[in-house]
């Protein structure tokens, strides 16, 4: 009982316990915040990569491509573990938009099939409601003139007719949004929202409606390569931007353009054709007539609900084994989305581990601070310890006071640190907006990073609660040596202590 009384009295006394608790608070908050931000970054990165990456893909990891991909897709779709499979073609291209040329990766897709494998439909950024809301805001603007309101009302009615997602899924431009009949006849393209060399984000990292690229002409130039590896004349084709996509993963959003599978296959001359054998001297047709199969770069596969990645991959591998024998394709391999992105995922994972380790090292400071503070308290309380021993308190009781004191400081510091971390992590973006507004300091520039918001989340079960518990244990450990010293004090010596 006397232990509780003294702990409560010591806690209310002077600055020493406050400093000890503050050290625990800061260290607890620091570690939780770092782990939450790094963990949030990793989670967001994983989910953004997952949005546009198939769970498993079949690839040759070369530019040769896969023949008989249709047969492979059919066999894969027949598996109970597989929900959908679609061929894609990938290549590098020169993209020209509004006179600006950049290098991009072009992906030839069948949008409806792709939407069953990855979140292509959800990634289509521009929605008609954005345009309608924007027009409505202009109409509601008190500074707008009557004429301007009428114009915007007209636009709003026009926007009601739009089907931007449908345009993206069909890869066909809406006549409402293109300037000429010639353009209306062009195939559609869906570039990543950050694929243009000119920045279009505002300070909050958002893309205003006025910055949309829909209806712009986009020219792609690719270099076909024959089956034997010979370069052919570059193929150039015009497209119209029908929507843009935003996966949330900057690497994708800044470097990919989706076009129709057939168009890209044709440009790269990877489509099926009948072979012709010519006499090199005379040019006469000597023979041929064999059907040469078309090629795709990869086959994207998604699993049925409830099927694990491992089971899906095993099922794909079984089909692939037969496929490789039947079609003489020894280089075809399966690859999970994690393997395909292991470099970037591994880098962030390692970074998280390293930063957490460093902050845990820093947090040992908390233990040292608690130990130092408690040692000072023991020195200060030496005579009190002698008094308590003189009136019958046991060594265990004395030790209990200081361990209990450490526990109380640990609990107070840990709970405060937990609350502080929760507040900072939950309102991290708002805090940075305020810092930006007050001091012009922006710790997270959304125009630079892959994500609009600082991706932080508190994982209570696996991270925050164990860290808070660890902080309490650290405080008790910090108090342990001073508590042992206090318990070992000779009562007569302690009573004489000045």
């Amino acid at each position: 009982m006397f232990k509780l009384l003294l702990i409560s009295k010591y806690l209310r006394r002077k600055l020493a316990p406050l400093f000890a608790a503050l050290a625990v608070t800061i260290c607890t908050a620091m570690v939780i915040i770092v782990i939450s931000v790094m963990g949030g970054f990793l989670d967001t990165l994983r989910s953004s990569i997952q949005r546009m990456s198939p769970q498993v893909k079949v690839t040759t990891r070369s530019m040769n491509g896969l023949e008989h991909y249709e047969a492979l897709c059919e066999k894969l779709k027949a598996l109970p573990e597989v929900a959908a499979a679609t061929p894609v073609i990938q290549t590098l291209a020169l993209m020209e938009v509004a006179g600006q040329r950049t290098q991009v990766g072009v992906v030839g897709i069948r949008p409806e099939e792709l939407a069953d494998v990855v979140a292509f439909r959800d990634a289509l950024f521009w929605r008609k409601q954005m345009f309608i809301d924007d027009a409505q805001a202009k109409i509601d603007d008190p500074k707008a003139s009557q004429t301007q309101r009428e114009v915007w009302q007209h636009y709003k009615q026009a926007w009601e007719q739009l089907d931007l997602v449908g345009d993206g899924m069909r890869l066909k431009p809406s006549p409402l949004l293109v300037g000429s009949e010639e353009m209306a006849g062009l195939p559609g393209a869906v570039p990543g929202i950050a694929a243009f060399p000119f920045g279009r984000r505002d300070a909050q990292g958002q893309y205003p409606v006025s910055e949309n690229a829909i209806g712009l002409e986009l020219t792609l130039t690719v270099v076909p390569i024959t089956r034997k590896g010979a370069l052919q004349d570059p193929a150039l084709r015009k497209f119209v931007i029908v929507n843009e996509f935003k996966s949330g993963h900057y690497e994708f959003d800044s470097s990919l353009v989706f076009v129709g599978f057939d168009q890209l296959q044709g440009m790269l001359r990877m489509n099926a054709y009948d072979s012709v054998e010519l006499d090199p001297e005379t040019g006469e047709v000597l023979g041929g007539g064999e059907r040469v199969p078309g090629r795709a770069s990869e086959v994207y596969i998604s699993g049925s609900p409830g099927v694990s990645l491992k089971d899906l991959r095993d099922a794909v591998d079984r089909v692939l084994m037969t496929y490789k024998q039947e079609h003489n394709a020894p280089w075809a391999v399966s690859e999970t989305w994690e393997e395909a992105n292991e470099v970037i995922l591994g880098a962030v994972k390692n970074e998280k581990g390293l930063v957490t380790f460093l902050f845990v090292i820093i947090s040992i400071v908390a233990i040292v601070m608690v130990a130092t503070t408690f040692y000072m308290i023991v020195l200060e309380k030496t005579r009190d310890i002698g008094i308590l021993r003189a009136i019958g308190a046991s060594r265990g009781g004395i030790m209990g006071i200081f361990l209990g004191y450490g526990l109380a400081v640990g609990v107070v510091g840990s709970v405060a640190g937990f609350a502080l971390a929760w507040g900072i992590v939950t309102y991290l973006n708002e805090i940075q907006y305020l810092l930006n507004a007050w001091f012009g300091w922006q710790m997270w520039d959304p125009r630079i990073y892959a994500f609009d918001r600082i991706p932080a989340r508190v994982d209570y079960r696996n991270e925050a609660i164990p860290i808070a518990a660890g902080a309490i244990i650290s405080a008790v450990v910090g108090a342990l040596i001073p508590a042992l010293l206090a318990a070992r004090l000779d009562p007569v010596e302690a009573l004489r202590h000045e």
Binding site: L5, K9, G392, S394, V492
Partner: protein, 244 residues
């Protein structure tokens, strides 16, 4: 031994019987690497309800003797028997219980806990003695006894005051109340008036007189013969031994 002491306690209370026996007690300290012999074979018997004063000059070993009788320190040789049982045979918690139940210590410099009020300083003696549950079950009786003791020492209106707000005499009264909270068999007082002016010292002696009249056994060490004169019996510690 605790149970034996408890059993005998009721038999001897109030009777003129030996309560403490000090036998051939030796104690030395090492100061600057040199041994300093403080007690050189002290023999002493304290009877129940007796008020004994031990006189001696400063540094004569009076406080050491009192600490040994109170089980705060251990001798080099010899022993202290409490109701016939050797105190230094006790170890750990049993020795702690001897200090909290059978003896009450009063010091020259009061030794109150500065964070606690006067009442809490008295109560903590009982808190140390009882387990948490034991204390909680007896809480109201203990509190009543603590308030009664403070009333007895004239501090009814100072119960909530911290030691820093009390005068020297008041602090010593709180220390006496703390020493008495567990109704000890012996009150061991180390220079109880040594830090007080003459008038305040006299009032403390009056308090001791009243306790003695009620049958409290008191062993008091002092260098002041006038203070010692209040006791029933006086012994002088000279060169580490007691003279009658």
């Amino acid at each position: 031994m605790e149970s034996k002491i408890e059993n005998r306690k009721s038999e001897v209370r109030g009777a003129k019987s030996k309560i403490i026996a000090v036998n051939d007690l030796h104690k030395s300290y090492r100061i600057g690497g040199q041994p300093l012999q403080v007690l050189r074979g002290v023999d002493l018997e304290v009877q129940a309800s007796e008020w004994l004063a031990i006189l001696g000059r400063s540094g004569s070993g009076k406080s050491t003797l009192l600490h040994l009788m109170g089980g705060l320190d251990r001798p080099d040789r010899g022993g202290v028997d409490f109701r016939g049982e050797p105190v230094f045979a006790l170890r750990g918690r049993a020795l702690d219980l001897y200090r909290s139940r059978h003896v009450g210590l009063v010091f020259q410099f009061y030794h109150l806990l500065p964070e606690l009020s006067a009442l809490e300083n008295v109560l903590i003696g009982a808190m140390v003695r009882y387990t948490t549950l034991g204390y909680l079950s007896e809480r109201s009786a203990i509190r009543q006894r603590a308030e009664g003791l403070l009333q007895r020492v004239g501090l009814t209106d100072r119960m909530k005051h911290r030691p820093t707000k009390l005068s020297g005499g008041e602090r010593q009264r709180v220390a006496i109340a703390r020493a008495l909270i567990n109704q000890p068999d012996v009150l061991l007082a180390d220079e109880p008036t040594g830090n007080l002016d003459a008038d305040t010292g006299s009032s403390i002696m009056e308090l001791f007189r009243g306790l003695h009249d009620e049958g409290q056994t008191i062993v008091m060490v002092t260098h002041d013969e006038r203070i010692a004169a209040a006791a029933d019996r006086r012994l002088t510690l000279v060169r580490g031994k007691l003279d009658a």
